[in-house]
């Protein structure tokens, strides 16, 4: 029971990290490695505003500003650097890596390289099925589920969601039908930064962010997204749960579990991918269409 509750909560946290990546790489097919930096940007922005403004401004306004800054950074990177060379996938890959490094250095310059601590939104703990879990973790799980549900609604019901799906499927046909690929790409970038910003602010009290955190986050997001399968947003949920539950189980039962839990989780992903080369629920022919 212990494993199940903690594993599911951890998994939902991972899901929150991976879903934005799944949006931007799996659906929009842009290799955007700056993605993980939006987390650290949002978290650091909130930290700076809290020390700057203190308690004069309600906390939720600070949160909104933090997410807004993440979205602004994402828009700037996409307009200035990614859209003009969208056709060369590998150049985008390296350029975004370099931008992430610039952001990392700027954060070190501003706040130092030590991990920082953000106040929790919710204090205390709740008893779920006989296991005590911190309220903040439950909040992360709840928000993660809510975001997935909202994204489902967005993709199923709205016109913009339809446009994003159409661009992912057949960009040329989308253009012929009068769609604007540029704005669709920007829309998915905004969406990803929004999810990342919310995730960064909510996860920061649990995993204190530091300027180098983007690499770890990127690895988790990448691994979970790929395990779920590219082009399939919903694959993230079971994939994240598998990783979360296996990490918690290893941490509890195996000696040295705390050190090797991440490796065991990654080994599971490795084995799954070797035997199922398109992930658990991947869309076939994702590469050919790209």
């Amino acid at each position: 029971m212990d494993i199940l509750v903690n594993g599911v909560l951890l998994g939902l946290g991972y899901c929150l990290i991976a879903v934005g990546m799944a949006l931007i790489l799996g659906v929009a097919k842009v290799f955007d490695l700056v993605y993980a930096s939006y987390y650290t940007i949002a978290a650091y922005m909130v930290l700076m505003l809290i020390t700057l403004l203190g308690s004069t401004v309600p906390i939720w306004i600070i949160f909104i500003i933090g997410v807004g800054v993440a979205i602004a950074v994402s828009l700037v990177t996409h307009i200035l650097f990614i859209l003009p060379i969208r056709k060369q996938g590998t150049a985008v890959l390296v350029i975004t890596m370099a931008i992430a490094m610039v952001i990392q250095e700027l954060l070190i310059f501003k706040e130092g390289s030590e991990p920082v601590h953000l106040p929790s939104v919710l204090k205390g703990a709740t008893n779920i099925l006989g296991v005590w879990a911190a309220n903040q973790k439950i909040l992360v799980g709840g928000v993660s589920v809510a975001i997935m549900a909202l994204l489902w609604l967005f993709f199923a019901k709205t016109k913009l969601g339809l446009a994003i799906r159409a661009t992912a499927d057949q960009p040329e046909a989308m253009q012929l039908a009068g769609g604007n690929i540029r704005s669709v790409c920007l829309a998915s970038a905004i969406l990803a930064a929004l999810v990342a910003g919310i995730g960064g602010i909510l996860l920061a009290p649990i995993y204190p962010p530091h300027p180098y955190a983007w690499l770890d986050l990127l690895i988790i997001a990448f691994a979970v997204m790929v395990l779920g399968g590219l082009g399939n947003l919903w694959g993230c949920i079971p994939a994240a749960l598998i990783l979360g539950i296996s990490e918690v189980a290893v941490a509890i039962y195996v000696p040295y579990g705390g050190i090797i839990k991440r490796s065991i989780g990654l080994m599971i992903i490795f084995l799954v991918l070797v035997f199922r080369p398109t992930g658990l629920f991947g869309v076939r022919g994702w590469e050919e269409e790209a």
Partner: protein, 327 residues
């Protein structure tokens, strides 16, 4: 067959590429005199490291540029071979050349295993699987502080040529030139052509009777062996090896180098390796802005020349054409 090109003459594109090759040749001859010309210990050392990274980058280019298999875990070969060589040298006291050869052999085995496991994987799937391997190896190193040195790595084994910089420089330079020409021959010959075919159209290559699986594994093996060579040289010059050599940082380095220089051209990645290493080590004097300058240069170059530094002449030609069409 205009201008006398054709059967007797080499194909015209070889002529076009020739200045680049003569440049490489001239530069390697020039480097033979560097230890005599440059008195500064530190600069000579930077150039030596740049040469090691040239081996690493061109090895990676064969896999990522030619075969199009972008691996995010090439530090598996670099650090793995380095660890094997260092451990053998420290614990068994074997001569360095045997340690380096064993390190390369380990990289060969890693290449075979990884190549076979990754046969069916493409794009991001391949990236994740290759990314995971060195991370798992790092955890194994962390778990074994007594044998593998844990977090601190292992130190204190024999240095190349007894630590004399000038001899080290010449050994590294010789190996760099040999690897450069070996990989150039492979890449310009049949193997490079086959790998490019597989990259562009795997199904078409299969239909043409190419055993794509064998060639993909071969690309992994060759690339791994040369990356392993670079790794063993690196640790034997440092005289120590840390888990950092297995970290994602060392996996990202060759990716940046080859795309900054221009992928699938061998000469481009060599230029990229020089630029990155020299920037990286030279800027150590400015600790606060080092990474920012270095990353900003990458961003600016790739934003305006997505083909990398090797495409600069092409861009200039295009610019001149555009200018003349305007006037």
């Amino acid at each position: 067959m205009k201008n006398g090109q054709g059967v007797l003459w080499p194909p015209s594109n070889l002529f076009r590429k020739r200045p680049v090759y003569s440049g490489v040749f001239l530069f390697s001859i020039l480097e033979l005199f560097f230890p005599l010309l440059i008195r500064d210990y530190w600069i000579l050392r930077i150039i030596m490291f740049a040469n090691i990274f040239v081996i690493y980058a061109i090895a990676y280019d064969l896999l990522a540029g030619y075969a199009g298999l972008i691996s995010f875990g090439h530090s598996l070969f670099f650090g793995g071979a380095g660890y094997v060589a260092g451990l053998l040298s420290l614990n068994l006291g074997w001569p360095l050349i045997v340690c380096i050869a064993t390190g390369c052999a380990t990289a060969l085995i890693f290449g075979l295993l990884l190549g076979y496991l990754c046969l069916r994987l493409k794009g991001p799937y391949l990236a994740v699987v290759t990314l995971i391997c060195p991370l798992v190896l790092v955890t194994i190193v962390h778990l074994s502080p007594t044998y593998l040195g844990g977090d601190n790595g292992i130190a204190g084994f024999a240095q190349l040529a007894g630590g004399s910089l000038r001899s080290q420089f010449y050994i590294v330079l010789l190996l760099t030139i040999l690897s450069l020409f070996a990989i150039l021959l492979l890449a310009q010959g049949n193997l490079g052509l086959l790998l490019k075919t597989i990259r562009e159209d795997e199904m078409g290559a299969e239909a043409a009777g190419i055993n794509t699986a064998n060639y993909k594994v071969l690309a992994f093996v060759i690339s791994g062996v040369f990356a392993g060579l670079a790794g063993t040289l690196y640790v034997h010059i440092m005289g120590s090896v840390a888990p950092a050599t297995l970290s994602p940082h060392y996996a990202i380095l060759p990716i940046i180098m080859i795309f900054l220089g221009g992928a699938s051209s061998i000469v481009g990645p060599a230029i990229g390796a020089y630029v990155i290493t020299i920037l990286d080590l030279y800027l150590l004097a400015f600790p606060y802005v080092r990474v920012i300058i270095y990353a900003a240069i990458i961003v600016i170059v790739l934003r305006f020349i997505p083909g990398g530094l090797i495409a600069v002449p092409k861009e200039i030609r295009r610019f001149k054409k555009w200018q003349s069409s305007r006037s």
